[in-house]
């Protein structure tokens, strides 16, 4: 859906998506890194289980919700990636305590 322009020379940052290593770039948000990864990064909604991807990328739609380093329902489009960050795609409702 998206690819990185060859103009982009930012240093790479490794994050993990459901345990798999993904190469992001310094300054990417989690959502941008997920969309650039080429992986299936759809979440499933809490209401009907419908698949979604980020819609607005600017903090208003909440379709980018992910679990980041164990904290659920974070807006992936507002959180910059960090080395070693653990991202989990949300499938349906969150469990209590996460």
């Amino acid at each position: 859906m998206f690819r990185r322009s060859e103009l982009d020379h930012r240093p790479s940052v490794q994050i993990f998506v459901d345990g798999a290593a993904v190469a992001a770039r310094e300054g990417d948000t989690v959502s941008a890194a997920l969309l650039a990864s080429g992986r299936d990064v759809r979440r499933l909604t809490a209401v009907s289980g419908a698949p979604r991807l980020p819609y607005c990328m600017m903090g208003v739609c909440f379709d980018c919700l992910v679990t980041i380093d164990g904290v659920g329902n974070r807006q992936g489009c507002l959180v910059p990636v960090a080395e070693g960050m653990q991202v989990e795609l949300q499938k349906g409702k969150r469990e209590i305590g996460r």
Binding site: L7, C56, C61
Partner: protein
């Protein structure tokens, strides 16, 4: 994460887009203690997104209008204003107390003046299939392009109308991205409605720039005008885009559909603070009621930038300066002398707003793209359809607040940002009332979700504890 250094400031500015950058700079230059809080990782807001960090460093690619933002950031950095990014303001009240979440912890700061510069968001574009993965806003693609040099790769369709659509298309093409087709939804009758305002537009800076952009894009991408119907379809992923233009229906395969039909004020924080808003029949959105200095109905709260009504980045900068100058006049009148005169700022604003009425008339979104029907989703969070809303009206729901009890619209995580305008217009039409009569959701803090643990760990005074503990 840095927390605010003080617990009270002369001026707190919320949002570091064009208006917020200008307002904070002006306030700090006059010697007022100034705090700028912003939700993003760096300054710029949406228009100047990633201005201090973009990997797209060849200035021709994002264009001169983008790089204006670099000067604003430089001017701010030359002042003593305190700037905190990744700071989410979740509460603002009539006492000008601000609740802000930074790095998972919350703090409260007091302000003598608050300048809200929370900008705009893209108008909802509720067509069938708009929740499918692969359907995004044009602004989303532009955000990724500016901040991460990401460009559309698969079969890409851009649909809608407005200046941003053409700018985005040009930027994607300059970076080597792919666009298969542009579907222009501008209604033909809008050209006639806009005509009386054409003179101001022709003599505004928008005209030459807009024409050049459209020429650049049309040379490379087929553009279909007069699109009157739009459907995204697919099974769990966008597969096709269907449209009707000139009475003919076409269906094409697509991996990515980028939607855009203008921007509207981001009202959540202002409304939650109790600022009075009115329905703007020209821009088809809620706008705060403001005086010439940007002052709202709540004493001490001013609004600048697109949150004050859509005026574009140039106007936002000037509105930021006006609101900040007014704050300086009120708090430290002697310091106002070193700032630009109010009369000069008002002349700048008139210049920056030139051509806006033409754009508003030309790019007024068509009713069928604002007011959906049938199974089209209205509320993305709670997955409520247009039919669900109309059924609720039929059994007694009178407005958006009652509808919450029937269908939970606006009660999901986005708090109505993506459904509010649609719900108001849909219910107004169904009940034969004006949007002003129908009203909007009653918004409350927290305007962004925070964890209970974070709320519980907010430091409390002895009085706070006494207020809720018995005995």
């Amino acid at each position: 994460m840095t927390m605010p250094r003080r617990d009270a400031y002369d001026v707190v500015v919320i949002g570091a887009g064009p208006a917020g950058l200008a307002a904070a700079t002006t306030a700090a230059e006059a010697g007022l203690s100034t705090l700028l809080l912003d939700e993003n990782a760096g300054p710029g807001g949406q228009v100047f997104r990633a201005i201090a960090a973009t990997p797209v460093t060849d200035r021709k690619q994002l264009g001169a209008d983008y790089w204006v933002g670099a000067d604003l950031v430089q001017a701010l950095r030359a002042t003593s204003a305190e700037v905190i990014h990744r700071a989410t303001v979740w509460s603002l009240d009539r006492n000008l107390e601000i609740g802000v979440s930074i790095g998972g912890a919350s703090a409260f700061v007091k302000a003598r003046r608050v300048i809200l510069a929370t900008g705009a968001l893209e108008r909802p574009f509720p067509i069938p299939g708009w929740t499918l993965p692969g359907v995004m806003t044009a602004g989303a693609a532009q955000t990724m392009l500016k901040a991460s040099a990401l460009v559309p790769d698969g079969r890409t369709v851009i649909a809608g109308q407005g200046p941003l659509l053409w700018l985005l298309a040009a930027q994607i093409l300059r970076l080597g991205g792919r666009i298969d087709r542009i579907l222009d939804t501008t209604e033909r009758r809008n050209y006639f409605a806009a005509l009386p305002h054409a003179f101001a537009f022709l003599t505004s800076p928008y005209f030459a720039k807009g024409l050049a952009l459209m020429r650049e894009v049309r040379a490379k991408v087929p553009v279909v005008s007069g699109v009157s119907e739009l459907v995204a379809a697919g099974d769990g992923q966008l597969a096709t885009v269907s449209y009707v233009a000139g009475g003919r229906r076409e269906t094409m395969y697509a991996d990515l559909l980028l939607l855009h039909q203008g921007v509207v004020p981001n009202v959540n924080l202002a409304m939650a603070a109790g600022v009075e808003h009115r329905w703007d029949e020209m821009q088809l959105c809620w706008s705060p009621v403001l005086d010439a200095d940007g002052h709202s109905s709540v004493a001490g709260i001013a609004i600048a930038g697109d949150g004050a009504g859509i005026g574009g980045a140039g106007a936002a900068v000037v509105r930021g300066r006006i609101a900040a100058r007014a704050a300086v006049e009120a708090l430290a009148p002697a310091s106002a002398a070193k700032l630009a005169q109010m009369a000069a700022l008002r002349a700048d604003l008139a210049h920056a707003e030139r051509g806006r009425v033409f754009l508003d008339s030309l790019f007024r979104p068509a009713v069928q793209f604002r007011i959906p029907s049938g199974d089209t989703i209205v509320c993305r969070c709670e997955e409520v359809t247009a039919k669900d809303v109309l059924d609720s009206v039929a059994i007694g729901a009178t407005g958006p607040n009652q509808l919450k009890a029937y269908r939970r619209t606006g009660m999901g995580p986005c708090q109505g940002r993506l459904c509010g305008l649609t719900v108001t217009e849909l219910m107004a039409e169904a009940r034969a009332k004006t949007p002003q009569e129908i009203g909007y959701y009653r918004l409350r803090a927290p305007v962004k979700p925070i964890t209970l643990a974070e709320l519980a760990s907010v430091p409390s005074t002895e009085d706070d504890v006494k207020a809720v503990v018995r005995g």
